[in-house]
Amino acid sequence: VAQDTLIEERPNLEPSPDAEEVAEIVERGGAGITRKRMLATSAGAAGVALGAAFIVPAASLGPWVGDATVQSPWRRGRRLVDEQGTPVPASAVAMGGFVTAFAEGVDKEALGSSLIVVRIDPASVAVRRDWAPQGIMAYSKICTHAGCAVAMMRYPLFSGNAPGPALVCPCHYSTFDITHGARVVFGPAGRPLPQLPLQIDASGYLVADGPLSGDVGPSWTGVDRGSA
């Protein structure tokens, strides 16, 4: 390939009478239009009307302040089932372990459905003891920070200054203290994970004893911060 070196003048960008002429042509064209005011007014009115027309669909788009972005299926008496849809017995939750459970008869993918069910020593449950039969507690599995599934459990043996048992979200490390109703002890989450009051029915299966303690999933303006 030839390696010529050439030189070329750059385009002139100095102020040019052409620029003024362009402005003049545009202005002269506009001068021919009579009733400019009326044109502008009707254009403005059309804009306002169009904008107003958008308010109705926009307002009906979805949850506004105070509504829930995620519908919760949980109420008293609804059973907890596993991925295959079989009811979860209390014995399925090992000490220091967790299982994922869902609302019976509800789409598993619905954010309001999934729970992370944990078991710790009943003596270390500091709040809502009557929600935690045999130390078994159920929390919404959807992180209140950014909606990832809270899929890790930290369960040290309380030796020395090791941190207490907690649920950890793998996305942004929000850490929820399960002895205190999943209050946030680390990370960016602003609200505790909603807790589901549990009871164990006569056949030993886990059943909801009421609705979740708060709104499921990430926050929006107007969400209740909840308590833990």
Partner: protein, 488 residues
Amino acid sequence: MSKLVKVTRVAQERTGQAGLAKTLLRYVFPDHWSFLWGEIALYCFIVLVITGTYLTLFFHPSYDQVVYHGSYAPLRGHTMSQAYKSVVDISFSVKAGLLVRQTHHWAADVFMAAIVVHMMRIFFTGAYRKPREVNWYLGVTMFTVAMLEGYMGYSLVDDLLSGMGLVIGWAVALSIPLIGAPLASLIWNGEFPGGNDFWSRLYIAHVFIVPLLLFALIGAHLLFIMLLRHTQFPGPGRTERNVVGSAMWPTYALRSLGLFCAVVGVLFLLGGLVQINPIWLWGPYHTYAAENGAQPDWYVGWLIGALRSMPNFEPSIDGVTIVPNPFWGGVLFPTVVIGFLYAWPTIDRWVSGDRRRHDLLDRPRDAPWRTAAGAAFATWVATPFFETAGDRLFVQFDIPYTAQVEVFRALWVIAPVIAFVVALRVCKALAASDRHPLRQAPPAHLRRTASGGFEMVEPAPLPSATESNGKLDNGAARVAPPGNYETR
């Protein structure tokens, strides 16, 4: 009369644009290795369009749940969306599917890398100054749009990783004060994960709307370059009012064709040899599933890290949240970063008081304050990027995630200050060494005469591109390339 002349005559008599063609053929490109990043980005875009088109022939943008019975045994019997299943099929059953899919993914990563490096080149050489502000704005817009395009692309697959990315996107949309919840409902057609309506929107945005937008932006970007000509570094014969370099034909066009072939070759080599995003290992996404140790594509790392590093802060009134936490790292931080980039030409004008036209580039040391500001800014954006690798640090080196976050929060504040001071000092030291008398270029070239003395010679003037028109290859257009590029 040669055949080519016949062709050009026919073309001229139909279009009357022979003059334009002549100008284009003699269009001058200044030579500098750092000018190729933008071209690499352009060629990545071409590869993305071609490989992406092939992928659309087999991809199903559908959220309908199906049970997998395909050729990949570990996933048989699993419930997954049509979208995910079709990408698994592309990877294992479609001819050249895995090669094209991996090349597409690699091209996206290289595209973003080339854009970022190109943007840094423009920034640190001051190429965004008058009259090129508009091209800088177009470039920042392309960076933003391309990032969104990449995010949407890997979200379409609906594997476990991309689903986690999408739910975070939903949470970030929700977090915008006041309008977040209706906005997220509008985009997702209600509650996450949104179903088929959302998938149709994501798909048409990724394969049509955003590529079209990028195409238009690239066109405008190139048009502005053509109108103003390229910038160039100072050198012999180079002034603010000329361009010195190689002509479009034959030199630059062939050279750039070579670069295009190299980019395509490297991308296909990467796609064929280096595994990327093995979605069959992640499995299909379920809202209730998550994976630890997951890394996003590199260009969204700064946002994940920002979400992670943000302190637990959610202003509220009376127990009601006003600003949800993802707003800070997911909306405010990128808005400040992109806004700063848009504002930079104005800030430069305001700090330097320089409103003149600049066609000659600075070296980074020539404007220490600009280089220092750029270094500090880049460090500020890069710190959360490194934080994203925190789970790897945890797994590999057993450093607790809590301690990491604390360290990165502190670095986010301290590191930019250090970068500013170091860059400023380095630039000033380099500039001082340039001013040393021994580094000064001689005022003229010296030639030894036959009698043993020396005489001064002025450097030969370079031929003009316009003058050489019409007398190609007669020797007058050719000159030796200026040998000494010392600028001072």
